[in-house]
């Protein structure tokens, strides 16, 4: 069953701004769905429409199969976690977490029990009497999570909850939020512009761009099989190689690059004809540098034009014989390569996609 359904939902703002453009989305019960996209693509607006904080200009929103377009915010029974935590600064942690329960007519004794349980879940027991400013950023975010979860919401909405945290804490909270969500089994919609977060946490990644959904799917699927240049680019380092199809045989496609060197591509999702101009997408980390590698991999010759030393890996910009620029990501074994080094790039057919 779908927990949340969006049917052709759109949101226009004054001044002709189309923040969300006819989006269709099914969020299965218990799933962790991520809305991923660049700044201004309409993620927050979408989330706020589900919460009722924003009214859709068109379309229909269903929660648990019921149309909620006309349901006021306070009757939707949702949990929401904001980027800046939005804890009530004038209320103690206890009163913050108990807030939603108070408005659901839960008895005093029951509130105390449930607040304690929620604080246990986010691993912050015993802070009831403190005030939000007396907690660190990460702790505040846990309280915000506890406050949203304690009411046992139908859906948990999270708007970039990790972006205000520093890098280490972010990864820790990332796995913790995911673990809590899985344990409780609550349906979650998570908004982020961080592809790492999206890939690590989600059951379903929804890539958005300019108010539209570009692609949706399991993290591996979206990453490995980008359907558009935008998705390929937004999720990780992608290389685009303009090429011409020379031969099509079974699942195997052979394309020629600018200098005539051949590249084998195995992409069953696309049907192409010989002579067609295409764009071949290869992820940086799939390109092997001077590898003895796989026998069926194509080998391209190039010259290193720039090196980014990253510690355990290095990123190399390589200029191919035909002038194309390619970025590769390689583990450093015995010293990094230098600018000007001649290299052989091995690319396996199954790692190439045709757009």
């Amino acid at each position: 069953m779908s927990s949340v359904e969006l049917k052709a939902v759109e949101k226009h703002f004054a001044g002709g701004i189309i923040a969300v453009d006819a989006i269709d989305l099914d969020v299965p019960d218990g799933a962790f769905v991520t809305l991923l996209g660049p700044s201004g693509c309409g993620k927050t607006t979408t989330l706020r429409m589900v919460a009722g904080l924003e009214h859709p200009t068109g379309g229909e929103i269903l929660i648990k199969g019921k149309r909620v377009n006309e349901t006021p915010i306070h009757q939707r029974n949702l949990g929401m976690v904001f980027q800046n935590y939005a804890l009530f600064p004038h209320k103690s942690i206890f009163d913050n977490v108990a807030f939603g329960l108070k408005y659901r007519g839960v008895g005093k004794a029951d509130i105390a029990v449930r607040v304690r349980r929620a604080l246990d879940i986010v691993r912050l027991p015993g802070v009831e009497q403190r005030f939000p400013t007396q907690l660190s950023g990460g702790q505040q975010q846990r309280i915000a999570l506890a406050r949203a979860l304690v009411i046992e919401p139908d859906v948990l909405l999270l708007d970039e909850p990790l972006s205000a945290l520093d890098a280490n804490l972010r990864e820790e909270m990332r796995s913790e939020i995911k673990a809590i969500q899985r344990r409780i089994g609550v349906t979650a919609i998570f908004v982020t512009h961080d592809q790492g977060e999206a890939l690590a946490m989600s059951d379903l990644v929804v890539v958005m761009n300019k108010g539209k959904i570009e692609q949706r799917g399991a993290p591996a699927e979206v990453y490995e099989h980008p359907r558009s240049e935008f998705v390929a680019n937004f999720l990780g380092n992608a290389n685009f190689l303009p090429a011409t199809v020379v031969a099509v045989a079974g699942g195997g496609i052979s394309v020629a690059l600018a200098d005539g060197s051949q590249l084998a591509v195995a992409d069953a999702a696309r049907t192409v004809q010989a002579g067609e101009k295409v764009n071949v997408v290869v992820r940086a980390e799939k390109i092997e540098l001077d590898g003895g590698g796989l026998s069926h991999a194509s080998v391209l010759k190039g010259t290193i034009s720039a090196v980014d030393y990253l510690g355990s890996t290095a990123r190399y910009d390589v200029t191919l014989a035909g002038g194309e620029k390619v970025t590769t990501l390689a583990t450093i074994r015995d010293g990094a390569r230098r600018v000007g080094d001649q290299v052989n790039l091995s690319i396996a057919p199954e790692h190439c996609r045709i757009l």
């Binding site: 706020r48 919460a51 009722g52 904080l53 006021p72 915010i73 306070h74 939707r76 949702l78 949990g79 929401m80 904001f82 800046n84 939005a86 009530f88 600064p89 004038h90 807030f99 939603g100 408005y103 659901r104 406050r147 009411i151």
Partner: protein
């Protein structure tokens, strides 16, 4: 070491100097004056005696005047809250484009002298004033109402003068509230009114408190408005100070009244500081 310790005071010395010269010294002089002796011939003779203070404490009239001044200031403050809060809320929350212009318009009257603005109320509330003309013209009343030269016109004038201070204080406070807090309250189950009571109002209290304190102190200390718009029976403490010093040339007694006023308002501020943070008042000025 001592040089390091002295440094902040050294750096602050211009401020300390000007504050002591301009603020502390005059008060000290006034305090000294309050012990001087006023002779029967009307001369003030330097002395150290408590006659002026005894006179003040024995005269019920001055206590009444203080009470009536504070009552008027209190009513003015309450009216400013009632009128100012919704206005500030509108300014802070309405989806309007020219917010800055509206705020500017609010302070536009400050370009005209306070005295002229106060006197203009005479044309509005007077016997042949605007209000009476409209009411009589429309046949609602037969005789002009007495709107001027009573407590009503004083409060009216004070509210008119004080309202922008209230609005700007509440506005600054409301404007600083994170809108997500209200959204969070709504998502957690609050109706719009409940979220106002739970979140918006409590978080705007510093501004409301600052505005109220400012209104009260300025109203209680105002002199021009009660003098221009008040009636013969209007009792206003600052006016009594004026009477004592300028009309009766009784400087020592005027000094006593001034000190009383200072202490009374100081007490109000102390009580306020007990419950609210005084620094919020200063902050609204810093904006």
């Amino acid at each position: 070491m001592s040089r390091v310790l002295a440094r902040p005071y050294l750096l602050l010395s211009p401020a300390i100097l000007s504050l002591s010269l301009l603020m502390v010294a005059p008060v000290v002089f006034v305090l000294i004056y309050s012990f001087w002796l006023r002779t029967a011939e009307g001369l003030d003779v330097p002395a150290f005696q408590f006659g002026n203070w005894v006179n003040f404490f024995n005269d019920y009239f001055y206590w009444m005047a203080l009470g009536s001044t504070f009552k008027t200031a209190f009513i003015t403050t309450i009216i400013c809250i009632i009128l100012g809060y919704p206005t500030a809320y509108f300014l802070a929350r309405a989806q309007i484009r020219n917010r800055g212009l509206l705020l500017f318009l609010m302070f536009l009257p400050f370009w005209v002298s306070y005295i002229i603005r106060t006197m203009s109320w005479i044309n509005v509330l007077g016997k042949n004033g605007f209000v009476n003309a409209v009411l009589m013209g429309s046949g609602l009343i037969d005789e002009p109402m007495k709107l001027l030269y009573n407590d009503f016109s004083v409060i009216m004038g004070l509210v008119y003068f004080m309202l922008p201070y209230m609005i700007i204080n509440v506005y600054v406070s409301l404007d600083g509230i994170d809108r997500n807090l209200e959204s969070a309250a709504r998502v957690l189950g609050c109706t719009p009114w409940q979220s106002f009571w739970e979140v918006t109002l409590p978080l705007s209290l510093p501004g409301l408190g600052a505005g109220s304190l400012l209104c009260f102190v300025l109203a209680a200390g105002s002199y021009v408005t009660p003098r221009l718009l008040g009636g013969t029976d209007t009792l206003f403490f600052p006016d009594l100070i004026y009477e004592a010093i300028i009309s009766q040339l009784d400087w020592p007694f005027g000094a006593v009244l001034s000190i009383v006023m200072l202490v009374a308002l100081g007490l109000v501020i102390a009580v306020y500081n007990r419950f609210m943070n005084l620094s919020d008042v200063y902050r609204s000025f810093a904006r």
